[in-house]
Amino acid sequence: MLYREAGQFKSTYAADQQIFPILQDRIAIVALLVVAFVVVPLIGNQYWLSAILTPFLVLSLAALGLNILTGYAGQLSLGTAAFMAVGAFMAYNAVLRIPHMPILGAFAIGGLCAAAVGIVFGLPSLRIKGLYLAVATLAAQFFVLWAINRIGWFSNYSSSGVITAQRMEILGYPIELARDKYLLTLAIVALMALAAKNLMRSETGRAFMAIRDMDVAASVIGIPMMKTKLLAFGISSFYCGVAGALYAYCYLGTVEPEAFTLDLSFRVLFMIIIGGVGSILGSFLGAAFITLFPIFLNVLSRSIEAALGIEMSHAVVSNSEAIIFGGLIIFFLIVEPNGLARLWQIAKEKLRLWPFPH
């Protein structure tokens, strides 16, 4: 009843092209933005802001990047963490070595370097597909991590390869509090999500999806294979690079190369599987799920411990987490391969009829 589109007819193509063509959606997104930008910083506590919301946003951005490459363009990648690492370490070096480098500029440089690396490791995609391509991205993952570890320049010759993110400031205003880091991350992620949405609903997005669905046909209708694939790698890696920089500057603070292992690549992949491949919203939903899931399990295990009067070791909890996690992945793939985003769509469809059954 509330969610009816009755009476909302589009009389121009421009109106039809909007990101949120339905009025109720527009209201909802504005409300969400108000809550995110205004309400949360006011009422949020330190823990939530710095340990949950900020990493959620950062990982959403990484998931967005991976979704562009794997979800929209159909190129399976297991190297997400490596691209994030490039972004983090290159942003660090930009601030370190270029005097007066503004922090946003450093993030952009991190992203661009990641994009370059992405394009190089994406070159094999011109000849190989699917699973084989995944192996190529694995090569990227291992090689980049090894390079960052071994080549002292990246970590300013620190003996352990660890870097410490420098202090940030924008136009004289220091970004140190959890609240400020959260807002900075939120702003960047929101803008980049908007850009991603715009990109995916225009010709670039269509070209990506064409290559994913049937690349021979795409080539026949004139879509340039090489340019499109490399563009996908480039844009995706840029997003992952910026995410990596944000990861370092707004969340971790002290960064070691081990923060960017294959494990992280898989985590981001799971985000888009569970959230929904080929969906901007899905990237956020998946990231939320995977960020909140361990916390939820923790709370659950505490209550089980309290209720049954037993104590579960950390190992038990984390192994159970792995089992449930893997099980959920399989569950999603069987039940709804299009992930939470599709479930959300179905829920909205049902909402349109509510409270009537049909």
Binding site: L76, P124, R127, I128, G130, L131, Y132, V135, A136, L138, A139, F142, F143, L145, W146, N149, R150, V216, A217, L262, F266, L269, F270, I273, A315, V316, S318, N319, S320, E321, A322, I323, F325, G326, G327, L328, I329, I330, L333, I334, P337
Partner: protein
């Protein structure tokens, strides 16, 4: 010169280890078209179960039998819970399901048996073969040779199985096209259960071999990843390819680490195999023994 031979031999024998793991992949891929990312965790699970039973005082052969039974059950459960609902989904979905399976197995293994590393002894010592080291001053481990022999026998048996038997033919049909195989009456579920059980057996053999060599510990699961370059070189569907690929990767890696490593600060082993695979893919995307894929429009 003798050092070189030692390095090569060591590499080749390490390659045999890789090949054993790759073999499990090939089996499942050949028979069901699924790339079983969980093979590494299956190896881990098998090894861990076996060694834990041994440590509890069980007789070697009994422990082996029970572990094998566990692997077979595991295979059947996997077929039922994971594969059956996903018949005819695109391969990428199945691959991602096996990634999920990996997590389940890793968690399960450690939940059941704990996460400390274990040593494993099989009675064949990891010492150099005496007459070789005395006569030619080359050190090759007895155990490594044993592992190579075991692998050889396993490969021969499997190759025969696929080529000559009725079930082998049915397996190949299933790998090609699930629905078509169903349509001609091939009992898909039975076949898959058989395949996964056999792959479980191979995983057990691989797990035991690796366990003796490197100890049974969590890092064993990463062997799955190393098997990937092997499969790329050898092709995903070729048993012989798994062996040849394994040998090449094993030897190549060792040689690179020993001769190139010092120039770039070492640690090459972490990525060398993948880069080789990558370069190989650029030249010959279907692997040494694979079949060329022709897109029909």
């Amino acid at each position: 010169m003798t050092f070189f031979i030692e390095v090569v031999a060591g590499g080749l024998l390490a390659g045999v280890m890789y090949a054993l793991v790759a073999l499990g992949f090939v089996l499942i891929y050949k028979a069901s078209g699924v790339f079983n990312f969980a093979q590494g965790s299956m190896v881990f699970f098998a090894a861990l179960t076996f060694v834990s039973l041994l440590e509890r005082g069980w007789n070697l052969w009994l422990a082996l039998a029970v572990t094998l039974a566990a692997m077979v059950v595991l295979g059947m459960l996997t077929e039922r819970i994971v594969l059956r609902p996903l018949i005819n989904q695109p391969p990428i979905t199945l691959f991602m399901a096996t990634i999920g399976l990996t997590f389940v197995l890793e968690g399960l293994s450690q939940l059941l048996w704990g996460s400390q590393p274990h040593g494993l002894e099989l009675g064949i010592p990891d010492v150099p073969i005496e007459w070789l080291s005395e006569k030619a001053n080359i050190n090759i481990s007895q155990f490594d040779l044993f592992a190579a022999l075991v692998a050889g026998v396993l490969v021969a048996v499997l190759a025969l199985f696929f080529q000559k038997t009725r079930i082998g033919r049915a397996l190949r049909a299933v790998a090609d096209d699930h629905q078509a195989a169903l349509a001609v009456g091939i009992p898909l579920q039975h076949i898959w259960a058989i395949v996964w059980a056999v792959a479980g057996f191979v995983a057990l053999v691989a797990g035991v071999m690796w366990g003796v060599r490197n100890g049974v510990q969590y890092a064993l699961t990463f062997t799955a990843l190393k098997a990937l370059p092997v499969l790329i070189l050898g092709g995903f569907e070729s048993i012989a390819g798994a062996i040849v690929g394994g040998l090449i990767i094993g030897a190549g890696e060792k040689l690179a680490e020993v001769y190139l490593g010092p120039y770039v600060g070492g640690g090459i082993e972490s990525w060398f195999a993948y880069v080789i695979a990558l370069l190989f893919l650029l030249v010959r995307p279907e692997g040494l023994f694979g079949e060329k894929i022709i897109d029909r429009v």
